[in-house]
Amino acid sequence: MKTLKNTCIILIATLTALSCASLYDHFTYTETIETKLATLSLMKKSNSPFTENEDEVIDLQNQLEKMEIYEKGKKKNEITGKMWELLSSDGHLVGSYLKLWEEKETLSPAFIEEAIPQIEEAYDLMLLFETKKDKQSQNALTQFINNL
């Protein structure tokens, strides 16, 4: 009876660990804030020639790529991975903004003013989602561990 009970407990503990969604990651949270600030700061400069800001653009592209690879490498983290892809790929949000800037060399002030809140909202959604993981999944796991 004792062996059966222990087996059940181990099985349940394993199932609990497997059923959890990706947990809150403080590195992701702080890096998302840093990337957001770097993006907005660079966007504010996009009425000046692209060629004058190329080094900063490359740095930002590398940071976006790093985050996408990092998030996609985590298990049960498809949603966050997909959001980084949506943010950084050439056809979407920041990726396409940088591409447009490169193509046109400078962007109009009215456009920059309208584009900044769009990008800001995208980052805020990512930060919000990371915080949701914190409040729900991590607490559930902690509660379970405390019960052991």
Partner: protein
């Protein structure tokens, strides 16, 4: 520019286009696109005026429209993700109940 008229015409055009392209499946697509237009109404109005006045060009307008669609996708992803987390949380609760009962069994 009569923006309200433009919005109605856009909706009609979308319904017609989607019906030709997707037949019976068009209903879901049309509903998504209508949601896009409704939730973006104020922005679309402002961007159209900026374009007409020459403050932004065609490529910049296209980027803004696309970014609004991307944001809707992002919002949907967050919604799906939060529901997934809630479902996981519920599963954990059930497992925790079973676990507590098992621990309470006499050896």
């Amino acid at each position: 520019m009569d923006f309200e008229k433009l919005l109605i015409e856009l909706k009609e055009e979308i319904v017609a286009e989607a019906t030709v392209e997707f037949g019976k499946e068009a209903k879901v697509i049309v509903s998504d696109l209508k949601e896009y237009l409704d939730s973006s109404k104020e922005k679309l109005k402002k961007w159209s005026l900026l374009f007409v006045s020459g403050a932004i060009d065609k490529d910049e307008l296209a980027w803004l429209l696309k970014s609004q669609k991307d944001l809707l996708t992002m919002r949907s992803l967050v919604k799906i993700g939060v529901n997934k987390i809630k479902a996981g949380h519920f599963k954990n609760k059930i497992i925790s109940i079973v676990f507590t009962r098992l621990v309470g069994l006499p050896l």
